[in-house]
């Protein structure tokens, strides 16, 4: 295994985060704080407890999930798209490094950045509410798996995209609406029955629900169903990436 190659890609990507510290860390912290001020303090003060949890605390897993999904996708997609765009991808293609090692480097760095960010958001939330995490290990598993699977998805997106618009269209027009409609800021029990059924078709609901269970032991669906969903999504992304490298799709002519 080309371990030096994996480390080189990982460090190179993490260095990009350090160079863009304000964009990478300060911006999400400010955004999260605004969510707490608007949803938690302003609106939340008019909402009773949701399933026995204060509204401010209820939205914490949703906010973490929103940040995890969007950042994992954008980090990984930009990480692989930029070398394609600038032409420096020739080096990776001519290096003695396997497809899986390339994925490990790029996706590992993207997931690591997202996990760090999730922890920062969690710490920020601690300034606004009394944090309670009943299953911290499970919470970390959820955070890690979600970051990994959506970084894999972002990697695919970065290979598929041939312009910057395509790079931003999926996170903006698909992921963000799914997170907002996936019970991040409300319980689906608040919806009319027909919309409760429709909500169950939203895959993000399973992620938010699973993460929320690790915090408060409340969920829309069984926690194991949530874990299975992430597992299946991860395997699906890995299969697509394997096909991409085997066929050279948008990488090797």
């Amino acid at each position: 295994m080309n371990i030096h190659g994996v480390i080189a890609i990982f460090n190179y990507e993490m260095a990009r985060m350090k160079r863009t510290l304000i964009q990478s860390i300060v911006a999400p912290v400010v955004t999260t704080s605004l969510y707490f001020v608007v949803f938690g303090a302003a609106i939340g003060s008019r909402i009773q407890q949701v399933e026995g949890v204060s509204y401010g605390a209820f939205i914490v897993p949703g906010l973490i999930m929103l940040s995890l999904l969007t950042n994992s996708i954008s980090n990984a997609s930009f990480g692989i798209y930029f070398p394609k765009f600038s032409g420096t991808v020739y080096e990776m293609l001519s290096a003695p490094i396997s497809a899986m090692e390339v994925v490990l480097g790029y996706v590992g760095a993207a997931a690591a950045k997202s996990v760090i960010l999730a922890m920062i958001i969690l710490a920020t939330a601690g300034f606004f509410i009394d944090l309670e995490i009943r299953h911290p290990v499970l919470m970390l598993i959820f955070v890690f798996l979600t970051a990994t699977s959506f970084s894999l998805f972002g990697f695919i997106l970065g290979i598929w995209a041939d312009n910057f618009e395509k790079l931003s269209v999926v996170p903006t027009l698909l992921i963000t609406p799914l997170v907002f409609l996936g019970g991040s800021f409300y319980s689906t029990e608040m919806l009319p029955p027909i919309w409760q059924t429709v909500a169950l078709m939203n895959p993000v609901l399973y992620l938010v629900s699973g993460l929320r269970w690790s915090f408060y032991e409340i969920s829309e669906v069984n926690v194991f169903v949530s874990l299975s969903c992430i597992g299946v999504f991860t395997l699906l992304c890995l299969a697509v990436i394997a096909i991409i490298f085997r066929t050279g799709y948008r990488l090797r002519a």
């Binding site: 030096h4 190659g5 260095a15 032409g87 420096t88 020739y90 080096e91 003695p96 090797r252 002519a253």
Partner: protein
């Protein structure tokens, strides 16, 4: 370079057809000797970059085989790619990285453990040491080209591909590059370069390959190529004006200048039929006096143009025949 030299790269019946249907390489066979400098010449779109890209693993061959140091490049890609360094044609750099970081990154990517001493040696040899902390976007085109060479040399390759290394580079920098190539050659690095500058090939190559329309139309030792295909000219500066060329010289390729003071004799240096001393005796026998003489040899550029035109003529003939 003797024919018995070890082949570091061996290419057999290599074909590449792109998705668009364009045939970039057509049955290319090529052996590259260890330690030599091979220059690949050819017009734009001839297939030079595709050939290099196929060897380096960037382009997937449609058929044929490539071995590097005896290893198949697909099956043993880790071994073969670790032996190769590539300097691409385009100035592709990560604008926001420093010289030191980007060169160190390349070393790691090629599976080598960090070695700051080696990186320092490479940067110093390329006059980049004082720029090591500069961001790439602040460097000139020539300096970026040097950075690309440093990246390619960071993992101590035994084979170096230079894809038009001096394109857009000024004369002094070009001569610096030649020195770098010469220096690498003395270290035993095999160098394959593509170039449009015939002068470059003439200056530094041991062998010349000519590619046109995806076919390798010639591969030859440079000196042998020059003597085989090179025309020589003998120019006589006459003491007196010559009205006409005597009829006994009709069979020779003789040209009289407009001012009738220069007589140019063009001959094939490889041909056994010509004899300069005999020609000069005959000239003097006809009482044609000269005060000076000089010889010139056709350049590689002229040879290259002749070869490409001949190849294109053959293709046209083939099309007509069909």
């Amino acid at each position: 370079m003797s024919s018995s030299s070890k082949n570091i790269i061996s290419i057999k019946c290599l074909n590449k057809v792109y998705g668009s249907g364009f045939e970039a390489l057509k049955s290319v066979n090529l052996d590259i000797h260890q330690g030599e400098v091979l220059a690949l010449l050819g017009p734009n779109g001839a297939g030079k970059t595709t050939l290099i890209s196929a060897i380096c693993g960037i382009v997937r061959p449609s058929s044929g085989s490539i071995t590097v140091d005896g290893h198949d490049i697909q099956r043993y890609f880790r071994v073969t790619r670790s032996l190769i360094g590539l300097v691409p044609q385009e100035l592709t750099t990560d604008s926001f990285e420093t010289v030191w970081n980007t060169v160190s990154f390349s070393r790691g990517l090629f599976g080598k453990e960090p070695n700051p001493n080696h990186i320092e040696r490479v940067l110093r040899s390329l006059s980049l040491w004082d720029k090591k902390d500069n961001m790439l976007r602040t460097l000139s085109g020539g300096m970026k080209r040097r950075v690309l060479i440093a990246k390619a040399l960071s993992h101590e390759p035994r084979i170096l591909f230079l894809d038009e290394p001096t394109a857009g580079v000024d004369v002094s920098l070009r001569k610096d590059m030649w020195k770098i190539v010469e220096n690498l050659k003395t270290q035993g690095v095999t160098i394959i370069l593509t170039t449009h500058y015939i002068e470059e090939a003439e200056e530094i190559a041991d062998r010349i390959g000519v590619i046109n329309h995806g076919k390798l139309i010639l591969i030859e030792e440079k000196d042998a190529l020059m003597s085989k295909l090179g025309k020589k000219q003998l120019v006589l500066e006459l003491t007196k004006r010559l009205d006409t060329i005597p009829s006994e010289f009709e069979s020779l390729d003789l040209v009289l200048s407009e001012d009738q003071h220069l007589l140019t004799y063009t001959f094939d240096s490889a041909s056994e039929s010509h004899d300069i001393s005999e020609f000069l005796i005959k000239i003097q026998g006809r009482n044609i006096q000269y005060k000076d003489l000089r010889t010139t040899q056709s350049s590689l550029e002229e040879i290259f143009v002749t070869l490409v035109q001949k190849a294109e003529g053959d293709t046209d003939e083939g099309i007509k025949a069909e």
